[in-house]
Every structure is written in structure tokens, then in C-alpha cells.
């Protein structure tokens, strides 16, 4: 996968201080094309389907919103905290619109209903970037969606 003009422009927007204070790339110094390609390979290796993952995350975001800003258990499997902070974020990809800062924090519940350690953190924008561009953010980014964590937290073992 090569860095085309769109990817170059998007990567420039992802730097810290442009759209968000921290940016989208963390400490990852790979180019955007490489990050996306590696994550596509990793998702395939883990047998994770982008569309299925995206839909599961949409469902959790929707059901978590019922907590009205407080954490809520969903389907007795997850503890989901959906909260919104002031403002919106534009997509680093030009022309994709703006997204409300709706953060969704997902933790798996154990058999006793207690939350386990791994956390999946995403917002409307990160979900859009996952679905449209297969971009899971750079390593070290707060909103990085590590494919193995996606698999563990969403429980996609099938």
C-alpha cells in the first residue's frame, strides 16, 4: 500500500495540535499506509471482519447511550460508559464532516459481573475511521484500537 495524496493530507491532519491536542498517531512513526496495512493484516490474522466489528461497536455505543452519561451494563457481557464532551471533531480525511465528541468506553464483565481489565475506547470519529479507512490509530494513541483487544473485549472468538 502506497501513500497517495489523500493519505498524505490525512496524515498531516493527524499530527498533534492540528485536530486534537494529542493527534491520532501516538508515538507511531510509521506512515499512514503502513499503519493501515499492518492493521489489515492483523485483523485478517485474527479472523476479524471490519464490518462486523464496526457494527458491534455501533451497537455498544447505542446501548451504552441508555446510561445517560453513566456506565451501564449491556447484555450482561459489557460495562459501557458513553459520555459526550463539548464540541466536535472533523475527520482527518477532507470532506467527511464533523463528529460529536461522544466517547465510548467498553469493558468486558466477568461471570460475577465485575469489569475486566482491558478497555476498548472509541468515539464517533474513530468508529468512522475504522469503517471507512481501516484506520485504528497509531500506537500510543489514547484511542488506538489494538486488534487483539478488539477481539478480546468484543468476544469475537467465532
Amino acid at each position: 500500500m502506497k501513500m497517495n495524496e489523500d493519505l498524505k493530507k490525512a496524515q498531516a491532519q493527524m499530527k498533534s495540535g492540528v485536530i486534537t491536542v494529542e493527534g491520532f498517531l501516538g508515538y507511531d512513526d510509521r506512515d499512514l499506509a503502513t499503519i493501515i496495512q499492518h492493521d489489515e493484516e492483523e485483523m485478517a490474522r485474527l479472523n476479524l471482519d471490519w464490518e462486523v466489528v464496526g457494527q458491534a461497536m455501533h451497537d455498544l455505543l447505542k446501548k451504552g447511550s441508555d446510561g445517560l452519561g453513566e456506565p451501564i451494563s449491556v447484555d450482561k457481557k459489557w460495562l459501557v460508559h458513553v459520555d459526550e464532551t463539548r464540541g466536535t471533531l472533523p475527520s482527518p480525511w477532507a470532506g467527511e464532516g464533523i463528529f460529536h465528541k461522544v466517547n465510548c468506553e467498553v469493558r468486558r464483565l466477568d461471570k460475577e459481573g465485575k469489569p475486566e481489565g482491558k478497555i476498548l475506547l472509541f468515539n464517533e470519529l474513530s468508529l468512522n475511521m475504522l469503517e471507512k479507512h481501516h484506520f485504528l490509530q497509531g500506537r500510543g494513541s489514547h484511542f488506538r484500537l489494538e486488534p487483539s483487544d478488539v477481539k478480546t473485549v468484543l468476544g469475537m472468538w467465532g
Binding site: S16, G17, I19, T20, V21, E22, G23, Y27, S65, D66, G67, L68, G69, E70, P71, I72, S73, V82, D83, E84, T85, R86, G87, T88, L89, P90, I98, K101, N103, E105, G113, I119, L121, H142, F143
Partner: protein, 374 residues
């Protein structure tokens, strides 16, 4: 011979690079040098400033602070002001935050407008009270695992006049990967009678630049900047029953309102129903104080509710989402004949859900006041 050529080549490349850098610098100086420009505010105040910077920063440098929750990044839409001069068409980064009428009236986001020539702006008079103050963090209290109470002291000799419901921008210094001071807006939880201090309740937002700093690094005794007071959420001067609903750090303006009314001796003048929702007792705080108010003042009614109390929690209060509990109380416990006003603070989802319940129970929408985003 080959080595000499390499050295010569390197020197030439270096020379060309230096020349290009100088040329870029000169061109930049010419193209982006707007010289001195005059900013006219409300036709009353004229300030001569160096052109070329964004209106939000230009005004701030002159001590005029427009509300901003995103630090001028164009993501909150708070720094609106009317620009009476022609500064070009609205940018795509502005229009999502502006109504058709605002666009027609040439309301702009000050963080997106570059001051390139003389400019006339109109700013609501009340915004002139907003100041930037270097404060000292006096006390930090951990209220829950993700909410901290932060008390800051104003600079010596400074008093901040504000009303309960207003908020301040809390600015933290650069740290780690955060390359610049960053400010976010938080409601005051302090009693406005206590003018030498302001207090905030700050909930940790995952990945949040300011909240992460507050929760991980902020220390008592540290200096931080506060830009305040901002906002128009406040208690209306009527006799209507106050139906207050909050969750999490949405407690902040409610604490400020109640303590203000206690200090002014009017806490019992009108019925106050305070609904506070949380998931478990771990998410609850200030319970002792609020129960004390409930016991002490006949018109103050505290209704805490848990949505998912654990089996090992000794919870005897209402169980369910706060909207469910609110609905039940509006239907069965709060007199239907009471004239009511709603005061809400919390996430947009909670506010929208509360609005539905209140309107269903015949509370007029225009009597429901709120501060989205605690």
C-alpha cells in the same frame, strides 16, 4: 578527487538550502505581514494590533476573552462574535456551528477569522467581565474514582464576581505529548459568595488532555490559569419549584446553586427537588451533605438513584435510570399543581431524556434550563 567533489557537492547543497530558507523567510515576511491593524470593539474601543493572527487570540491578547472550550481549535463553536467588516465568506469550519440567521448576521467563530486588516466586531458587553487569572491550586479532593474536586485561589487582591451556573476555562500547562497550554470549560461548584476562590468538579475523560493532567499530575500549590466567568446558565428569580437533575460532575452547578441559596438565606424559599443519578454507590458523592440539607430544610428534597446497584450494596433508595425516577416523582410525589422550572446539568443524552420526561409531565420547554456538558 572524488572526496573533493563530494565535499563541494555537500557545500553547494548546504548553500542552496540556506538561500532557500532565507528566501522563504523573506517571502513569508512579505506575504504574511499585515502590519498594524485596528480592531474596533462595539464602536467604543479601538485597539491597534499586529495583523496576521486569529481574532480569538488577538482579542485575548488585549484582555478580551470570548468563551472557548476547545482552545481555539474550531471544534466547540463557542467563540462566536459578530464581525461588521468584510473578512471574506464563512469557512467550512465555521458553518456547522452557525444557524442560518447567525450566518446572515455575519456571526463568525473568532478562532477561524484571521485579522488581516482593520476590523469592526460586536461583542456582548457581559463578555468584558471575563478575565484570565493566574490562580493557585489550594486543595484537591478525590470524590470518586474518576471525579476530583479542585479548589483554586484567585490572585491576591482579586475577587471573581459570578453567578451559580457559570463556568470557567481551566488551563493546564504543556506536558508529555501536549505541546501547548490547553484549556477546557468546567462549571463552578463553588459558592459565588466566596469570591477569592473557585471550585471545579473535574471528571476524567479518557484521552482528555486537560482531565488527564488534572487527574495524573495536578498538585496542590501549583499555579494554573483560569479564564472566567463564562456562561448564561443561572437560576431564575421566580417562586417556581426547582426540579434539578444531574449526574456525575453535573453536580457542580447544583452544589454552587444550593450553597449560594443557603448563604443568601433563601434555600427554603421555594421547593427544590434534586435528582442525582449514578450507577453504583462508587459513583455517588456528597451524600452526607445532601442528606443533611434534606433533613434541615423542609423545602429541599434530595432524590439520589442508582441504575445498577451491586448485590452487595446496601442501597435503600430508588433504583433505575434517573429519568425513570424523575418521571415517577413528577407523576406521584411532586404536586401536579406546582409551577415548575427544570434545571439540568449533564451529558446531552441525559438532558434530552430529561426534557422528554419533563415535557410529558406538562413542564413547559421554555421553563427548562440547562448546561450541557458538565
Amino acid at each position: 578527487m572524488t572526496t573533493d567533489l563530494l565535499i563541494l557537492q555537500t557545500l553547494l547543497v548546504g548553500l542552496v538550502s540556506v538561500l532557500m530558507a532565507v528566501m522563504i523567510s523573506i517571502i513569508d515576511g512579505i506575504v504574511n505581514n499585515y502590519g498594524d491593524v485596528v480592531v474596533d470593539v462595539n464602536g467604543k474601543k479601538q485597539m491597534t494590533v499586529k495583523g496576521g493572527t486569529k481574532l480569538l487570540g488577538t482579542l485575548a491578547d488585549q484582555g478580551i476573552f470570548l468563551p472557548s472550550a476547545c482552545g481555539g481549535r474550531g471544534s466547540c463553536g463557542a467563540c462566536k462574535c459578530q464581525v461588521e467588516s468584510d473578512v471574506g465568506p464563512h469557512l467550512p469550519t465555521e458553518t456547522p456551528y452557525l444557524t442560518d440567521k447567525e450566518i446572515k448576521d455575519n456571526v463568525r467563530l473568532a478562532c477561524q477569522v484571521k485579522v488581516k486588516a482593520d476590523i469592526k466586531v460586536h461583542i456582548p458587553e457581559e463578555l468584558f467581565n471575563i478575565r484570565k487569572m493566574e490562580c493557585v491550586v489550594e486543595k484537591i479532593v478525590e470524590l470518586t474514582y474518576d471525579i476530583k474536586e479542585v479548589l483554586v485561589r484567585m490572585p491576591a487582591g482579586t475577587e471573581l464576581n459570578y453567578v451559580s451556573g457559570q463556568y470557567g476555562q481551566f488551563e493546564v500547562p504543556k506536558y508529555g505529548d501536549i505541546k501547548e497550554p490547553t484549556a477546557r470549560a468546567y462549571s463552578f461548584s463553588s459558592n459565588p459568595q466566596m469570591k477569592e476562590h473557585v471550585e471545579f468538579l473535574i471528571r476524567l475523560v479518557p484521552g482528555g488532555a486537560v482531565t488527564t493532567y488534572v487527574h495524573k499530575f495536578l498538585k496542590e500549590g501549583q499555579k494554573i490559569n483560569v479564564i472566567a466567568p463564562v456562561g448564561d446558565f443561572n437560576v431564575k428569580d421566580t417562586d417556581a419549584s426547582m426540579i434539578c437533575v444531574a449526574g456525575g460532575s453535573g453536580m457542580a452547578p447544583m452544589k454552587s446553586i444550593f450553597n449560594d441559596r443557603i448563604a443568601r438565606g433563601v434555600i427554603n424559599d421555594r421547593p427544590i427537588w434534586y435528582f442525582f443519578g449514578a450507577r453504583t454507590t462508587k459513583d455517588m458523592f456528597y451524600l452526607d451533605w445532601l442528606w443533611e440539607l434534606d433533613a434541615k430544610y423542609s423545602n429541599f428534597h434530595f432524590v439520589p438513584a442508582l441504575s445498577e446497584p451491586g448485590p452487595d450494596e446496601d442501597w435503600k433508595g430508588p433504583v433505575g435510570l434517573i429519568t425513570t425516577v424523575l418521571d415517577e416523582y413528577l407523576q406521584t410525589k411532586i404536586p401536579l399543581t406546582d409551577v415548575k422550572e427544570g434545571y439540568l446539568c449533564g451529558s446531552p443524552g441525559m438532558l434530552d431524556a430529561c426534557m422528554v420526561v419533563m415535557k410529558k409531565n406538562k413542564m413547559p420547554e421554555e421553563r427548562i434550563f440547562f448546561d450541557k456538558f458538565a
